[in-house]
Each structure stands twice: as C-alpha cells, then as structure tokens.
C-alpha cells in the first residue's frame, strides 16, 4: 500500500510532553516509512483546534497542572472525541492516559473531570511507582511482552467495557496487578516516555489499525535489541 498516507496527530506537546514523548511520533513515522507508507505528523498545540481526521492520536505525560489544563481544553475542543467516534487510533501515556478516563487526581489529589473516552477512573496512590515495568499483553492483541519505565503516583480502576493492556510481571502499572488498558482502538499505558520505542509490536498494532490491514514484517534492528536487552536486564534469570 505505498500510496497510503497516515496522519499522526501529536496532541499538546506544549502541555503533555515531559520526557521523550516525541519518540512515539518518530517511531511510528519510521516504521511506516520502512514499509513504504508515507506519514504526515501534526503537532497540535493547546491553543489550536484538534483536527478530527487524524489516523493516530498521541498523548504524552505531563505534570499535574498541565494535565488539568489539557483535560479542560480537550473537553472544550471536542475534536478528539469526534475522532474516536470515527474509529481513529489513540495512544496515551501516563498523564495523557489518565485524562482520557472519567476522572483523575489533581495536584492535591482532588478529583478532576476527564474526557470520558475510556471507562476508567484514576486517583492518587500511596507511593510513587518509579522503575522498570514488564507486562504480559492480553492475548487478544497478539503482541509479545511489553517493556517500559514507569514514573507516576496513579492508581487506575477499569470499568466495564475496558480491558487491561497487560498483566504486570514487574512494576506497579494500574496498581492492581495490571498495566494500562484498551478499549476499541484506544490504548493507554503508564509506560512513561516513548513506550513505542521498546515495543515495536505495539507501534505496529497502531499502524495496522490506521491502515486497516496487516503490515509486512520489518527488521526491528536496534529497537529490537534494546527490547531484548531491557527484558534480560530486569527479569530474574
């Protein structure tokens, strides 16, 4: 499908990009390009309207205040909700993940209204989860073990209709033995920063949703080596 064009929308890099989040954009662009699929990436700042015709939407991590601001603006804008109705893929990390739910915790732990695109509810946990995370992905998604780094103090409860992304092997994730979630074509995760770098199969899952079909295999090269090295480094022998 060399003529396919995927439109990637990076939502609010001015509010939700604390730590390498643009890596997720770079990886999607690269893995599409290696297959001859062209992409176009739009960086939408928080004073701009969110386009409704994106194929993949990315939301990154952020501090408490920017997270609250981002949630308010996205609710007022409405573009992301429309895109989700049309079946676009969404990949949301950390603060971006929490704000897609019905509610999340603000800077003093107060409940803040989210976008309600995911039937999840987040609050503040007792202690901060900082460290490597490994999880076995829901077999329905057909992708191997995920590896990442988490750095958050969130606890996330999944409601009906939402499935956990993975069962945690190492790390805290949502706080109850599971990490992240998915509902339709929305994936949320606590894997901080560019989670798609270490998990090429997760990147390909989003790309396959965007092109509505299977992708030809490619060599994961250094990203694949990184994934193996990380799993080796953190899993007990």
């Amino acid at each position: 499908m060399p003529s396919d064009r995927i439109k990637i929308v990076w939502i609010y890099p001015d509010l939700l990009s604390t730590y390498g989040d643009q890596g997720n954009c770079i990886v999607l662009e690269r893995r599409a390009a290696l297959r001859g699929i062209s992409t176009r990436t739009l960086h939408v700042r928080s004073d701009e309207a969110v386009p409704v015709d994106g194929d993949i939407y990315l939301l990154g991590g952020g501090e408490d205040r920017p997270q609250i601001l981002a949630a308010q603006r996205l609710r007022a804008d409405g573009g992301l909700a429309r895109a989700v109705e049309f079946g676009s893929a969404v990949f949301a990390v950390c603060a971006g993940y929490q704000l897609l739910g019905t509610e999340f915790g603000g800077e003093e732990g107060q409940p803040v209204q989210g976008l309600g695109l995911l039937n999840i509810r987040s609050g503040r946990g007792e202690k901060r989860a900082v460290g490597e995370i490994v999880g076995d992905v829901d077999p329905a998604l057909g992708i191997p073990r995920i590896t990442g780094f988490e750095n958050h103090q969130g606890i996330t409860h999944l409601g009906p209709g939402v499935r956990p992304l993975a069962k945690t092997v190492i790390g805290l994730g949502n706080g109850n033995g599971f990490e992240g979630c998915y509902q339709g074509h929305i994936v949320g995760t606590y894997m901080h920063g560019p989670a798609l770098v270490r998990n090429p199969a997760l990147a390909d899952l989003l790309l396959s949703w965007a092109v509505k079909g299977p992708l030809q295999p490619i060599n994961d090269s250094w990203a694949g080596k990184l994934r193996e090295e990380r799993l080796r480094a953190v899993l007990p022998a």
């Binding site: 730590y19 890596g23 690269r30 501090e63 408490d64 920017p66 900082v130 780094f149």
Partner: protein
C-alpha cells in the same frame, strides 16, 4: 568559628575528621559524609555556619557548578570565599564548604533546585541567582512547574535579593515574588518547556528573546543586564566584551549572570572580567586530555537542554564525536530523555556510541538516521579515531568513568 556554641564546634570538628577519613579511603572528596555527621550532631549547624557571612545561592537545572566557580573567582578580590567546589549541592555539602573556610566572610553555594527554599531559610543568603529550568531526570529531580512554584513561595517575603534570567519564563515566574530582583537577559535556547504561561496556562507568544502571555499580564520584565553574542550591556549602558576561557553560548550566559551577581557586592564588571577568565575548566568539563596522539575533550550533558549546549561547542563537522550514556542513580535510571535530544545535528560526522546504555543510544541514533558505531568502551572509540581531536559527550556517571580512566587530574 570560636563564636560557635560548643556543640556546633564539636559537630564541625567531627564532620571534618569524617571528611578526611572518607577522602583517605578514596571515597570522593568527603564533603558529603562530613556534612552529614555535622548536621546529625547539630541540626542548626548550617544556620550557625552561615551567620555573619555574605552568601550567594546559585541554582538552575544547568550551569550551576560552572557559574558557582565563576562567581567565586570574581569575588576572590573581596577576601576568602567559601564554596562547594565539588558540586556537593545539598545542605550536607553546604555545611562542609562553610566549615572548611571558617574565616571566609563570603560564600558562594551551588544549590540543588529542590533545596533552594530550605537553604535560603536556614542561611538567610543575601543573593539568590536563578538561571534556568528545564526537564531533567524526572525519577530523581522534581517537576519543574512545581519547583518554580516552590521558589515563588520561598522568596515571597524573604529578605534576599534575587538575580534571575528573564529570558526563561518559568524562572521569571519563580523569581517574581522576591522583594527585589535584578533581571538579566542571559538567553534561553531550550524552549520546549516554556510554551505555556506558568501563571495562567495560556499560550506564550515569543519573538526573539521577548515573550508575553496571550491571556494574562505575565510578560518578560525589562532586563538590566543584556547578553548579545559575546557582548554584555551593563545597567548603566556600557557595552563590554566577555572575556571567558570557557566555550559556548551557555557559558556566556553563565558569565553575564556572574557579573550581575558580583555587582551586588560592589565588584564592577571591569574588575570581575579578568577573574572570570581565570576559570578554564570546571571539575574536568571542557578539559582536553592528550592520549595516544588524540586530543580528547570532555563535555558533560545531563539532560536535553544540556545536550543542546554541548552540541554548540563541538568542533566543526566532520570532527569525530563519541557519546557515552549510563543510567545509574545520579544519571536518572530512565533513558527516555534521549528522545528529546535532536541528534540529527550529528549527521555527517563519525559517531561512536558507548556507555552502559549504548543500546538505548543506538536505537535513538538509528531513528535519527545518524551513522554510528557501537563500541564496548570509550577506549575503543578513542583508538578508532585517527590521531587528532575527539570530542566526547557523556552524562554524569559516564563522564566520571571517563575522567577516572584518563586521569583524575583532568
């Protein structure tokens, strides 16, 4: 010192003995352990040691060690200056620095961003220098909006003078509540953390160094000191050439802020300038070491803004570059920040990747379409470049490893 109470004197003496033993045991310079013991014996030790001295606190995400050195050098004409020259920038390090120089009437203390409120409260420092805030290793450093908020609170009502970089919106917001501020236009090159107004969250409009919020009245204050290229405009309108022995625009920025600080103590820029020029390397940074016909220059970069400044001083392309990345405690255990650095600037040079996290680095360089070679250690990189210059950029512990390998004398 003799005016310290008995308990404090004992705390200082025991702390000093511990520092010395730690140094003899080869565990760094011993300033942390000495301060730790001193503070344990006398929790008010920092306050006591700070009394009757004129103190400067220096804080920022980047450049605080270097700027502390520049200020201490520029103030050396006033008399003895106590300073934490080894980058031990928490209260334990401050205690050691002050205890080591009991007769010094002046002190310049590098201060970790998180500790500014506490150290200001305990020392009653006369001047606080705030230079820049940008994303740093988040598993150890704090979140920067929150940090700036804490500065704001601590400075509100404090009896101290602030010198601050008004080209950085978050620093400006953090400094704004102080009773008196000298604003310095010292530049800001990393802007990815200041697109939004820290006051109201609205968009910041930026043009050159100027910035203003589109929604509220928060805007860049008018600077008294202005850096442009290699020149400084002073508050009375004179234009001077900066005479530094450290490379790059980040150090020019550090230099102008040092001038503004020492002016508070009556040191005019003409007097300060030659003293700034005496600083040619800071804890091994910017030093060139000769090894097997190679001139290896060491650059430290700990976060995305720091990498931007390191790229600024590289030898021109196609000069070779070796990069070394670790992820131990002081580096931050998360390497995600690599994806905030735009490595495409290294295209067209021979690049070597090493360090404990060289595979993370390789994945990043590959995605940036930079040609590179992965090597097991720095020695392999050094020996693969032809005799001549080699720039090495490393993060914290990787930098220390390389420094140790090629001689601590660096």
């Amino acid at each position: 010192m003799s005016d310290l109470p008995m308990r404090a004197q004992l705390a200082v003496a025991l702390g000093r003995t511990a520092s010395k033993m730690s140094r003899l045991a080869g565990r760094g310079d011993g300033s942390v352990i000495g301060g730790k013991i001193g503070l344990k014996l006398d929790p008010d030790l920092l306050t006591r040691l700070a009394a009757n001295r004129k103190l400067v606190l220096v804080s920022a995400t980047n450049g605080k060690t270097t700027t502390t050195r520049l200020i201490a050098s520029a103030m050396s004409g006033l008399g003895e200056v106590a300073t934490n020259a080894f980058g031990a920038n928490m209260p334990t390090g401050h205690v050691s620095a002050l205890a080591a120089a009991p007769a010094a009437k002046y002190g310049v203390l590098e201060c970790d961003e998180k500790y500014v409120p506490m150290v200001l409260r305990e020392t009653g420092a006369n001047v606080v220098l705030l230079m820049n805030l940008s994303r740093d290793q988040m598993d150890r450093a704090g979140e920067i909006w929150q940090l700036a908020g804490k500065w704001r609170k601590a400075l509100d009502g404090a009896d101290t003078h602030v010198v601050a970089n008004c080209d950085d919106p978050l620093v400006t917001w953090g400094a704004q509540t102080a009773k008196s501020v000298t604003w310095v236009s010292a530049g800001q090159h990393w802007r990815e953390d200041s697109w939004c107004c820290p006051e109201c969250g609205g968009p910041l409009d930026r043009e050159g160094t100027n910035w203003a919020c589109r929604q509220c009245s928060f805007a860049r204050p008018r600077p008294e000191w202005i850096l442009h290229g290699n020149r400084v405009t002073t508050p009375d309108g004179r234009v001077l050439d900066l005479q530094l022995n450290l490379p790059g625009r980040a150090n020019r920025s550090n230099g102008v802020m040092a001038l503004a600080v020492v002016a508070q103590f009556g040191v005019p820029p003409e007097v300060a300038m030659p003293l700034l020029g005496k600083v040619a390397s800071v804890a091994g940074r910017y030093t060139t070491v000769q090894y097997q016909g190679r001139d290896i220059r060491l650059l430290l970069a700990k976060n995305p803004a720091g990498w931007l400044e390191a790229f600024d001083v590289l030898d021109p392309a196609p000069g070779p570059v070796a990069l070394s990345i670790n992820a131990q405690g002081p580096d931050g255990r998360d390497t995600s920040w690599l994806w905030d650095v735009d490595y495409r600037i290294l295209k067209g040079r021979p690049v070597w990747a090493t360090g404990e996290r060289r595979i993370d680095l390789a994945a990043r360089l590959e995605a940036a379409e930079v040609d590179f070679r992965v090597v097991d250690d720095i020695e392999q990189a050094v020996l693969s470049v032809p005799p001549g210059k080699l720039d090495v950029i490393a993060n914290y512990t990787a930098f220390q490893d390389i420094r140790t390998r090629y001689g601590r004398a660096l």
